[in-house]
């Protein structure tokens, strides 16, 4: 496998312009999802889905007292995307092998293989992938696999005007992210990384699209301690075998014990 590539999304640089959403839709030629004003601040996209692969969240956090910047709120914005987990729940759950890990370490769904069983959908601890009912198949961010073949960076990273979305080799991004967090802490901002490696997020093995957050993960609709479902699947299988054994025991037992 060649170098692992990924995203580092620094939410302290995000200005909520949604260029990432539009660039993604335009490059991938995704359809719109309908026109509804949600009232959820400026988030009319709501969630990632089969035809939304970048989603900017907007959280107006009330500030009380006399905040230093003179405002009554802090507006936290983040461009959400498929996390391309090191240990991907969707990949492990896919029964057809449609979901694979590419040479760049990204997680990719092959649309010509997917038969729409929908099992990847609940397997994602972040609720990223979705099945489109019109089409039947599951879809999600491809990390612009086609652009990577042409040595181009993904459309969202290219379009992001403030470089909130940074793309590159994962270890480089991690180093950059660590320096950035340190810098922000010195400035007095309570920032932290999310999913930067397997140590920080053992449940997923680390994310290839990780984040720098300025608030609790829940504020951005991110789970605080996500884990790939197969984490702990062993005991479940054991229970299945035990249950099967129990069924057999019940069967044999009923028959044998009923004999005179």
């Amino acid at each position: 496998m060649t170098t692992t590539l990924g995203f580092f999304t620094d939410t302290t640089l995000c200005i909520g312009c949604k260029a990432c959403e539009v660039a993604c839709k335009q490059w991938n030629q995704l359809p719109d999802d309908g026109f509804h004003l949600t009232g959820m601040s400026y988030d009319n996209t709501v969630a990632l889905g089969a035809s939304t692969w970048r989603h900017v969240t907007f959280a107006e956090r009330a500030l009380d007292g006399d905040p230093t910047n003179g405002a009554r709120i802090a507006w936290k914005m983040m461009s959400d995307v498929c996390k391309h987990c090191e240990r991907a729940g969707c990949l492990e759950a896919c029964p057809t092998g449609a979901i694979l890990q590419t040479e760049h370490g990204s997680i990719y769904i092959q649309p010509d293989v997917c038969n729409g069983c929908g099992y990847c959908v609940p397997a994602c601890p972040f609720g990223v992938v979705a099945r489109r009912e019109d089409d039947g198949r599951a879809w999600k961010c491809t990390l612009c696999y086609d652009r990577l073949q042409g040595q181009l960076e993904p459309a969202c990273a290219k379009a992001c005007p403030t470089d909130s979305i940074q793309f590159g080799p994962l270890d480089e991004l991690r180093a950059r992210a660590e320096a950035r967090v340190e810098l922000l802490r010195v400035r007095g901002l309570d920032a932290h990384l999310y999913g930067e490696d397997g140590e920080a997020q053992p449940g997923t093995g680390g994310l290839h699209a990780f984040f720098l957050l300025a608030d609790e993960p829940e504020v951005y609709n991110l789970p605080p301690a996500p884990a790939v479902p197969t984490h702990g699947a062993g005991r479940s299988w054991l229970a299945a075998v035990a249950g099967a054994a129990g069924l057999a025991a019940l069967a044999f037992g009923s028959v044998l014990l009923s004999r005179d």
């Binding site: 035809s51 609720g127 609709n221 099967a244 009923s254 014990l257």
Partner: protein
């Protein structure tokens, strides 16, 4: 090079037919109405302008599986089929009397019917049913659905082979029978792993009890079916009674596991709660009726009907509970905050 997909009008892409090549990754998505991908009901009232400090506008974090009624129906059909294969196989292996053998054969028919119906239901639920055979492209132990497909295929294949043998008047080979028993028994329990191997909070937290509960409820479902169809023997009566007790114990265990992390609301409230509670009461009624010392055939039919209803509702209940649990962001956030779910 991929051939461009011809653009359709009003597909939400606004591409000019004259100059646009639809070669994007999402260009292949078939779009009947763009609206259909909208993630929440449009009439959902917006929450006040501020984000509640605990969640993101009460929006779901994880997604429920997009399964339709076919899947809970499959849980029933497949569960019954598996239990029937197990009991039938056990009977056949140790059969000494003709009635036992006849019962075994009947069970094998139930098993085959259940497997066929199950397969049909699974295929019907697929987004691309014509590609059902893609399930067998790989053997992926991490995917309970893949393992389950192999289990179902094995169970079906061995059932078919056994049926062929019997049609020719011969006893199926022991290996085939044994394989059928193993596959069948796993057929009834792997669904618990399938359901538990997701990010849906209530399923994830009960993942060690679900397979056991599935086993018990499959046996109970089979027992109820036998009660309805008649021809009960002592063995089946013992089997049925024990299974129904096990089912109630299992259901209780599931509730407790969910309650321990305070995410058991779907089993108590709402549509899923109603289904679950109905299922449990029907199950109790069925058990009580089963244990009545008198009543004969009438008692059996009533008990069987109550039990079947209970078993069917139980599948739909656990499915609905999963949907409700996935839709509740607190069910994902709170246990993780407390370190309760790993």
């Amino acid at each position: 090079m991929r051939r461009p997909t011809p653009p359709t009008p009003d597909d939400g892409r606004n591409l000019d037919v004259a100059v646009a090549l639809q070669l994007g990754e999402g260009a292949q998505q078939r779009v009947d109405t763009p609206e259909s991908a909208w993630p929440v009901p449009p009439e959902a009232a917006p929450t006040p302008g501020e984000v509640p400090s605990e969640t993101y506008y009460d929006l779901p974090v994880v997604k429920a599986p997009p399964w339709r009624w076919y899947i809970p129906a499959y849980f029933y059909a497949g569960g019954v089929a598996g239990a029937a294969a197990t009991l039938g196989g056990a009977l056949e292996l140790v059969a000494t009397t003709r009635p036992e053998l006849r019962l075994a054969h009947r069970l094998h028919w139930i098993s085959m019917l259940g497997e066929a119906a199950g397969a049909a239901l699974l295929i019907a639920d697929l987004g691309r049913p014509a590609r059902f055979h893609h399930m067998l492209r790989v053997i992926r132990p991490t995917s309970p659905m893949n393992v389950g497909t192999w289990i179902l295929s094995t169970a079906g294949a061995t059932s078919g082979l056994s049926a062929l043998a019997r049609l020719r008047g011969r006893r199926p080979p022991g290996l085939v029978l044994a394989a059928n028993v193993v596959a069948g028994s796993l057929l009834s329990t792997y669904t618990g792993v399938l359901v538990g191997n997701t990010a849906v909070p209530i399923w994830k937290v009960t993942r060690r009890r679900l397979p056991l509960w599935f086993a018990a409820t499959s046996a109970a479902a089979l027992g109820s079916l036998l009660q309805l169809s008649g021809g009960a023997t002592r063995a089946t009566r013992v089997y049925t009674a024990a299974a129904k007790v096990a089912e109630l114990v299992g259901a209780h265990a599931i509730e407790r596991a969910a309650r321990e992390v305070a995410i058991d609301a779907p089993l108590r409230e709402g549509h899923a709660g109603r289904l679950w509670r109905s299922s449990r009461w029907l199950g109790v009624a069925s058990l009580v009726t089963t244990l009545l010392p008198w009543g004969g055939r009438t008692r059996d039919v009533i008990a069987g009907a109550l039990g079947t209803a209970s078993s069917v509702l139980a599948r739909f209940a656990i499915h609905e509970a999963g949907k409700a649990s996935a839709a509740d962001p607190r069910a994902t956030f709170d246990p993780q905050r407390r370190g309760a779910i790993t």
